[in-house]
Structures are given as structure tokens and as C-alpha cells.
Symmetry: C2
Subunit: 397 residues, 2 copies
């Protein structure tokens, strides 16, 4: 993927925007001769934010922009050499200097999709060393974007479709780019615009704000905005939008699911922290009225579920399998970047915003409820369930 | 001030990183022929964060960097023209195009200073239109930096001087720059380093982290870190450092205190929201043992308090004046930028960090206490108190 002249990409995230131990791990892989092992990671969350039953996937456009520009410059590599042990093999640094995203493939939920616990927002595959280095920046780019989009979607659900919801939170953000991210993804999640002029210039967010700042309200995610149903039709939200005070981070994780073609699984005593092994596909099953039934994770090589056909699945956390007959089946993970090449244009921000509202409209009221919602089911295919069992049994031998 | 080639400045904050209504206000000033009126704003907070009695001032280095680069480019002005009313006078845009910081003067608390409610962190003076436009970016750059530095200082007070405190929160930040800001200012506030490699490269923060991420604890600001006093000597903190969950924003404000040489004051029924009029100086009064007594705000033209001399002051919120005889007097607000020129080099980040620890050590244990601390007193000089009374009386006539 050619790193085009894109000053915003340099501004937003650079390859060194990572944790040092990622570099240490990369060095470990390199020393072990495993730098080029084909690997796949999944980025997902374990629990929906704000006590709700859903999140909105967001941040993919920033990830793609970051990957397009991914390249360690001489100064970057020199800096890494200054913080790694002095006896580090110079060939490692040559390896780093040559890295780019040409070996990276990304599947992801389209931005604005409903996302549920354990369903990957991103699947990232490529050479082990490189995709390991991507962990921290991708987490940084996806987690907050998805959190803010979800926060905005919840505020939209509270306010109803007619009110104008405006983001006025720039001054309360974690610095300039926190504000830019919040303005961008609150719009994606259902806001009407932002007072942040830069978000308009760089991201096409509608810029608003003849509104004085004293209009800024600070209601939290569960309160009803002031004067619902009254003549107040414009609600500006500052701090509560950008800081998401009820839950200021989403807690996404990025886990290895396959390396060298072999499925990998993290085995822990805490079942909540177990990962699901193998390269996977994900499908959303719908009823005949278009409402969402559940999501199914299965191994990538399995044939997709068929509309109208009965399917045996294992709901997560359940001890028994069950049968489901979907009226419609939708694949969830789209191929966006293949071997470093963008496969199809990303939707515009406004298109993703419309898609988010459409997605939410298909969620049942019980799942859409903001407090104590019905739990949306995520299930495993029989083969994936069997693989989990096999790996778990093998580990306990 | 020459805008040197500084890619980080462009990355960090641009002139359009502002709220649209600042531009609308600028247009209003311009139409009224007031664009060049000499004006002064103060940036301060009204309440200390996290229930404490102090904050640490931080973010000045980013403000200076932002001001050095401040310049609306053609594309910026064209974008503004696209969002302002189509009949806006083209001469307004020419005015914007010519703006730079050459008329701006900044006094500020040195980074790492103790800051208290109502005492300006920044005093910004210059042409009314321009300094109005600076409101949002300066708030954005100071508020979060000061919040994070304060959070770090509190965690350092809990952990004691010996433990190594490491910021591992990059992945939980509000995007890339939120992480960079958190890593920079948690170090300033008393942390030992960060896993964030970019913070090392761009800001000189010690980069750490052979530590696996599973070491990340998530204790909140008031808990004692795990195993205090035990052999655990390194504490990595992720989410709780960057998101400051107990209070995710500081709530700084930026208020006009003087325009055209006349003091201005915001009169409201809420005494907490009243501003203090006029161009001011601020002093810290100390006892003979070097401990902090209180801060005094006075009019800029008043002679500074003298060590060993009795001074009549009005503690804020008190109905009576009182006398104080300081053993030492320190001026608080340093001149950093005069007419757009940097007057003296900014301290290095490590110097500011050392200064923060020194500052904290002079605070009495009762003020340093993290929960229900003694209130640190901020007082007005007799002349400033009289001015407040005169303006309030004039308004109620």
C-alpha cells in the first residue's frame, strides 16, 4: 500500500505510537526466526459499554489511514535502537526499517455496525512480527472511536430522532486529537454535528454552533435531556460526550488466534478471559421480519449458514446446543485491506452514520433498552465449539 | 513569532481546532470595529479535581508550540468561508489570513506549579479578535494536561517516593494524541516513565516496559496500589491514569478580564461563577519555614507584597479581611511570550517534573491529603476587593 502524502495520517498515529514491550516481543519473534510466521489477531471487546447490550463498531477509517502510512523512518529506528539493549543485532533494525503494510490483510465490521462481545471488530493477519507491532495503535484507534460512537447512539436513543444533538466537547477532550476523534465518531453514532471546526475541515462533520457555550448541558448517558418533548430542539453536549464519564474506556483486546496455520487459544481459569481459537467467520442471523436473532462465529473454512436451513449452534456460556433456522443470513466481516491494498472504498462518514441508524433500528426494543437490556446472543458453530473443547482438553492432559 | 518547521505542532493543534462560535464571535468583534481592542483573558479552574486541594499546572509547552505555529492557511480560511454566512465581508477573511501570534503576550504558572481555584494558569493578552479565537485550543491543551499531571501527582503521593510508577495507558486513551498527552504529563506529575515509545521520541519521556501488559493494574485514584510496602516496586497503571475515571475533565474556563484597558467582570447570581476583574498579578506567601500560607491576587499595578511586612487581604468567600505577614513572597505568573516572542526557554520536561515534586513537598500535609483536605486559601488584595465591589455596585444601580 503506497503511503500517500497525507499529513493527517502522520498527525493521527505513527508507528512508534506503541508500547515498548510490543517492540520487545517483536525482537523476540525475530530472534526466534518467527518474524514471518503467518499470524492472525482479532480485536474485540468482552463486555458492552455503559451497561447496554450493544456497541457500535468505529475507527476503521483511522486504522486504514494508519496502515497506509505505516513505515518506520530512519529516525524512528534510531530511536528504537536507543531504547533497546545495545547488543541488539543491527539486522533487527534493518528488518524494522523495511516493514510496511504490504503483507497485512484486514477484515472488519463496517463502521456503524452493531458489535457484540467476542465478535471481532477487526481481524488482522500478516507476518507475526508486524501484526504484533500493530496491537497498541489499532487498539488506540478503535476503542475510543467505538466508545464515543456508542455513547452518541445511546444519547440519540434517549433524545429520539427529531432533536438536534450537537457535540460541543472539544475543550474537555484529551487534547486536540481526542477532540477530533470525539467529534468525528459522535457524528457517526448519531449526532447531527459538532462545534469543532477542524472536524468539519478534515472529516466532513457538519459544523454547527451559533450556539453559545452556556447551552452546553452535562447530562450523563442515562438521564433524559432537559425538557424532552418541549420546544427545546437543540441539545449541545460537552463533557458527557467526549469523556464518557460512566465508562471512559471500552477495554478492547487484541488476541492471537492463529499462527503458522495453527489455531491458538488463550487458556485461563477465568472463562471470561478465554479466547476463541482459529481464523473465523462471523454471521448475523435474522428472523423473517428482519429483526436480529443472534450472531454466529464459526471457523473460516466452514460453509456459511444458509437462510431457511436449520443450524445447530452453541450459545456462549450455555451448556447445551440448540437449533436455529434463520430467515436471512448476513456475513459480518468484510475484506477491506488485502495484502496491503485497499479492496473497496470505505463508506463516507455520513454513509456510516446512516448505516449505524439502520443497524440500530433492526435491534429489538428489549436489546435496545439502555438499562438492563436483554442480552444479545453470540453463539459458536459446532465445529468451533469442538475445536475449543479439543484445545482445552489437550491443554489439561 | 516565526512558525518554524515543526510537524508536531501541526499534528498537535491547528488554528481550526476551535469551536465555530469562536469564529462567529470573532466576526462580531470585527464588524463592530473591535478586532484590535487590547484584551486580556485568564484561564483558570474553579474547583480542584478529584476532591483534592490542589492541581498541578501543565500544558504550557503545548500552548507555546501552538502559538508559534498559529497561522490560518488559505485552505483554512476557505473552509471558514464555507461555513459562515455567504454574505460575510471578504475583508474579514483577509483579516483572518493575516493573523499570527505576534501581538500575543502570555504569562503563566510554570509547569509543575501548584495551582489553586481562581488563580490564573494562563493570562493571555493581545488583540481581542485573536485572543478570543485562542480560547478553545488553549482550554483543550491545558485542561487535560493539568488533569493528568494532577492525577499522577496524587498517585505518586499514594505510592510514596520509592515505587516506580509507569504509564501503560496508551491503548485506553482518546486516540493517539490523548495517549501522547497522558504519557507526557503523567511523567511531569511524578511518574517514572511510560510504555509509549512515541512519547519517548517526541517528548523525552523515559520509555519503559519489558513489563507485560498483564501487569497493568486498574486502581482508582483513592485506592492504595496493590501490596504497598511489599516487594512490588513497579506499578504499571493503564486506564486509571489516562481516563482519570473519578473526574475525566478539569473544567477550566477562559474569561475576559479586561478590554480596552477597562476591567471586565462577569456578574452572575451564582457567586461561584463570578469572575475577578482586571489585569492581575498573583503571589504565593510563605511562612518562615518555607511552607505555603496562601495565594494573593492583586491588580497588576499594585506593588508586590513584601516579605516581613503586614498585608491586609480578603480571603475568597470570607466577609472580613485579615492580616498576614509572609516570611517570603513568590511571584506566580511568569512572562513566557511577549508580543509573540518567547522570552525565556521553557524548562525541560524533566525539570518541570522535578519542580512539581519540589512544589508538592512545600504543601502542608493537611493540604496534601487526598481526601477531605484542608482548603488552601486564595485571597484578594484590598484594591482588587474594592474593584469587585465597585463593579458589582455599579451593575446593581
Amino acid at each position: 500500500m503506497a503511503a500517500k502524502q497525507d499529513p493527517e495520517a502522520l498527525a493521527a498515529a505513527r508507528p512508534l505510537l506503541t508500547d515498548l514491550y510490543q517492540v520487545t516481543m517483536a525482537l523476540g519473534y525475530w530472534r526466534a526466526g518467527r518474524a514471518h510466521d503467518p499470524a492472525e489477531f482479532e480485536l474485540f471487546f468482552r463486555q458492552c459499554p455503559f451497561g447496554g447490550s450493544f456497541a457500535l463498531a468505529a475507527g476503521l477509517r483511522d486504522c486504514v489511514r494508519f496502515l497506509r502510512a505505516f513505515r518506520l523512518r530512519d529516525a524512528d529506528v534510531q530511536f528504537l535502537a536507543s531504547v533497546l539493549p545495545p547488543d541488539t543485532d543491527p539486522a533487527f533494525f534493518q528488518h524494522l526499517r523495511a516493514l510496511d503494510s504490504s503483507g497485512v490483510t484486514v477484515r472488519a465490521l463496517p463502521e456503524g455496525s452493531l458489535a457484540f462481545p467476542g465478535v471481532p471488530l477487526l481481524q488482522v493477519s500478516g507476518p507475526l512480527l508486524l501484526v504484533q507491532l500493530l496491537e497498541t495503535p489499532l487498539l488506540c484507534l478503535v476503542s475510543y472511536a467505538s466508545l464515543v460512537a456508542t455513547n452518541a447512539a445511546r444519547l440519540r436513543l434517549i433524545a429520539g430522532p427529531e432533536k438536534r444533538l450537537l457535540d460541543l466537547g472539544l475543550r474537555r477532550a484529551q487534547g486536540p486529537d481526542g477532540g477530533l476523534t470525539a467529534s468525528t465518531y459522535s457524528y457517526l453514532g448519531g449526532f447531527d454535528g459538532s462545534s469543532n471546526v477542524l472536524a468539519g475541515q478534515l472529516r466532513g462533520v457538519p459544523v454547527v454552533g451559533t450556539l453559545a457555550h452556556s447551552f452546553v448541558t452535562s447530562f450523563s448517558g442515562t438521564e433524559v435531556p432537559p425538557d424532552p418533548g418541549s420546544e427545546v430542539n437543540v441539545i449541545g453536549i460537552g463533557t458527557s460526550m467526549v469523556t464518557c464519564p460512566r465508562q471512559p474506556s471500552l477495554g478492547c483486546v487484541y488476541k492471537l488466534v492463529s499462527v503458522g496455520g495453527q489455531p491458538r487459544m488463550k487458556l485461563t481459569e477465568d472463562p471470561d478471559k478465554q479466547t476463541l481459537p482459529g481464523s473465523k467467520a462471523a454471521f448475523r442471523l435474522l428472523g423473517s421480519d428482519g429483526s436480529l436473532l443472534l450472531d454466529v462465529l464459526q471457523l473460516a473454512e466452514e460453509p456459511p449458514p444458509q437462510a431457511g436451513q436449520e443450524l445447530r449452534i452453541w450459545p456462549r456460556g450455555a451448556r447445551e446446543s440448540c437449533l436455529v433456522r434463520p430467515a436471512q443470513v448476513e456475513p459480518l466481516l468484510h475484506l477491506w485491506v488485502q495484502q496491503g491494498q485497499l479492496c473497496k472504498p470505505l463508506p463516507s462518514l455520513a454513509e456510516s452514520r446512516a448505516f449505524a441508524q439502520l443497524s440500530l433500528s433492526r435491534l429489538s426494543p428489549a436489546h435496545r433498552r439502555l438499562e438492563q437490556p436483554a442480552l444479545y446472543q453470540v453463539a459458536l458453530s459446532e465445529k468451533l465449539q469442538a475445536l475449543v473443547h479439543r484445545l482445552r482438553a489437550g491443554a489439561s492432559l
